[in-house]
């Protein structure tokens, strides 16, 4: 067994990666009595789904999920609609604007968001948008925009300009050629960007924490944190159950792009 040490290392990684997940699952399925035992058990003795039901009773999970869904849908759609033409311009026209756009994408990664969120909070307050979902949508759009731009301009670049030139030779106007030649080829990229923006907004915590202070408008991540209670006292079962439920959309997202991720890695392998 020449590869024995490698398998040991791989097993160590699997344990490190999996054990908090298994613990989350185990906690979600336990009864309060079992949770109170001095020695924690890995596998629940009497697995129960009661925590999932209790979670809905303790916090307004359904409302929070609906609000998160609304904010994420609105933010991701707006992000993609406004960044698509700009990404096209970034990919197709070289020059100063393109450089500035790329520079801004980079800067937006480096600058601490606290520097933006304080003035943004003040602006939103003056517009009476604090504690409102449209306020959060505005913030999420600005926060997903740089990366969406970056992703989309990459996808546009992958469409050969010759295709458009050929369409132009055939007498198509620029808009026409974009609609009938570029758009279909861009569709998978647009979907990926849309999903990315959706998940970013669905998961986002810091801006929501600042913008939404009223429990009636809180999104899912904020509501989850409320499970830990004001002094850190928590009913762990419902907390774990709610956490698992909040992860479902992200898991679906990854199941969808997993193939893309894999094929990307495989393409790399073939090239190598």
């Amino acid at each position: 067994m020449r590869r024995f040490p490698q398998y040991v290392a791989l097993a160590a990684y699997v344990v490190f990666l999996a054990f908090p997940l298994l613990w989350l699952l185990s906690t979600a399925l336990k009864t309060p009595q079992e949770m109170a035992l001095a020695d924690p058990t890995w596998i629940p003795r009497e697995p129960t789904l009661a925590n999932f039901a209790d979670a809905f009773g303790e916090q307004d999970l359904v409302g929070a999920a609906v609000r998160s869904l609304g904010v994420a849908l609105a933010a991701s759609l707006i992000t993609v609609v406004i960044s698509l033409p700009a990404a096209y311009a970034m990919a197709r026209y070289r020059g100063l604007v393109n450089k500035i756009a790329i520079g801004w994408v980079l800067v937006s990664q480096v600058f601490p968001f606290i520097l933006i969120i304080i003035p943004l909070f003040m602006i939103l307050r003056d517009l009476d948008l604090v504690n409102t979902l449209p306020g959060l949508v505005v913030v999420h759009v600005t926060f997903t925009l740089p990366f969406a731009l970056w992703m989309l301009q990459g996808y546009v670049r992958a469409v050969p300009p010759e295709l458009e030139e050929a369409a132009a030779v055939d007498g198509a106007t620029r808009l026409r050629s974009i609609a009938s030649v570029v758009a279909p080829l861009l569709a998978p990229g647009v979907v990926a960007t849309l999903l990315f923006a959706f998940i970013s907004s669905w998961n986002e915590f810091m801006f929501a924490l600042v913008i939404l202070q009223n429990p009636d408008v809180m999104t899912l991540p904020l509501t989850l944190v409320r499970f830990t209670g004001p002094e850190g006292v928590a009913r762990l079962g419902p907390l774990a159950a709610a956490s698992l439920m909040a992860t479902i959309p992200s898991l679906i997202f990854f199941a969808i792009i997993q193939r893309r991720l894999k094929s990307g890695l495989m393409a790399g392998a073939v090239k190598g």
């Binding site: 990666l17 908090p20 601490p112 520097l115 620029r174 989850l224």
Partner: protein
């Protein structure tokens, strides 16, 4: 040799070119407009405003008279013990998470690049932390570290309150940071590994280079650009981390895990010192740019 360079330029139509450029420019601006307006209004604008706030005594309350105070916030910041302790914690956190995350991810990427059995399972598992909301990751690890019902104490047979212990809280959240950031780094490094031409290894094998030598003399140098890019990005993300640690400890115990962004958040939204908190953000941005610049410059010079 110079034949192509000295060949006369093709004759230009005198008026056609400038006109075409201006039409293109107009088109480009039109396409940029839908994104440009919100970016200027809600991103660039606030950023500049935030930088401006750093030099005022602005309070984060309605109808507060704000006046320009120059560098006063900076002097206050530099003489505040709280800031220095938060800065130190932030640096320890960002550097150790970045380094450990890189080493762990490199190991995992090397393993996943090998033809091992169960590689598929490990691959799927390796991206799971990526697919989880950061808040859920924080809550999940809170359950692992829980003093009574947590599995860590269960496994070790201890009764430690990990996240509330003065000396253990920072190492405990560093582990969570590594767990959280590993997938992205692994995927990037794996892609980099798969881009290394196989012939290099074959040549190395022919020359009788050991496994270790091949790693040291082929893999690492070939991977260098990828390593530089991902570690600098990881450092930036880690130093700006907020949500994960907010959920885990809220900066406690006694400020032992109060990363700079948590400090700034408290100053801005609990104590309402908007100007002071903005200066904190600005100072951190400058430090990050300096550290990053130095690192990138050194890496660039060593490559040449």
């Amino acid at each position: 040799m110079t034949a192509t360079a000295t060949r006369p330029a093709p004759p230009r139509r005198p008026h056609a070119r400038p006109r075409r450029i201006s039409r293109q420019t107009r088109e480009m601006w039109l396409l940029m407009l839908p994104a440009l307006v919100p970016v200027l209004l809600f991103s660039v604008g606030p950023l500049l405003y935030g930088i401006g706030l750093a030099f005022t005594d602005a309070r984060n309350t309605r109808n507060h008279e704000t006046s320009f105070t120059g560098l006063e916030n900076l002097f206050d910041l530099l003489s505040a013990e709280d800031f220095w302790s938060s800065f130190r914690i932030g640096m320890i956190w960002a550097v150790s998470v970045t380094v450990l995350q890189f080493l762990a991810a490199l190991g995992l990427a090397l393993l996943l690049n090998e033809n091992l059995r169960f590689r598929g399972v490990a691959r799927v598992l390796a991206v799971v932390p990526w697919a989880m909301p950061p808040v859920v990751i924080g809550l999940m690890w809170k359950l692992v570290y829980h003093p009574d019902a947590g599995i860590l104490n269960g496994l070790l047979g201890t009764h430690v309150n990990w996240l509330a212990d003065f000396s253990l809280a920072l190492p405990a959240i560093i582990v969570v940071g590594v767990w959280t950031g590993m997938p992205q780094t692994t995927v990037v490094l794996l892609a980099g590994l798969q881009g290394i031409p196989r012939e290099l290894y074959e040549a190395g094998e022919v020359d009788g280079a050991s496994r270790w030598r091949r790693f040291w003399n082929i893999t690492l140098p070939q991977l260098r650009p990828v390593i530089v890019a991902i570690t600098s990005l990881d450092f930036v993300w880690n130093i700006n981390q907020f949500g994960l640690v907010y959920v885990l400890t809220q900066g406690g115990p006694g400020g032992q895990t109060r990363l700079p962004m948590l400090f700034a958040y408290e100053e801005a939204f609990r104590y309402r010192f908007a100007g002071y908190a903005s200066m904190l953000g600005l100072a951190m941005a400058i430090v990050v740019l300096a550290v990053l610049g130095l690192y990138l410059w050194r890496q660039l010079r060593e490559t040449r």
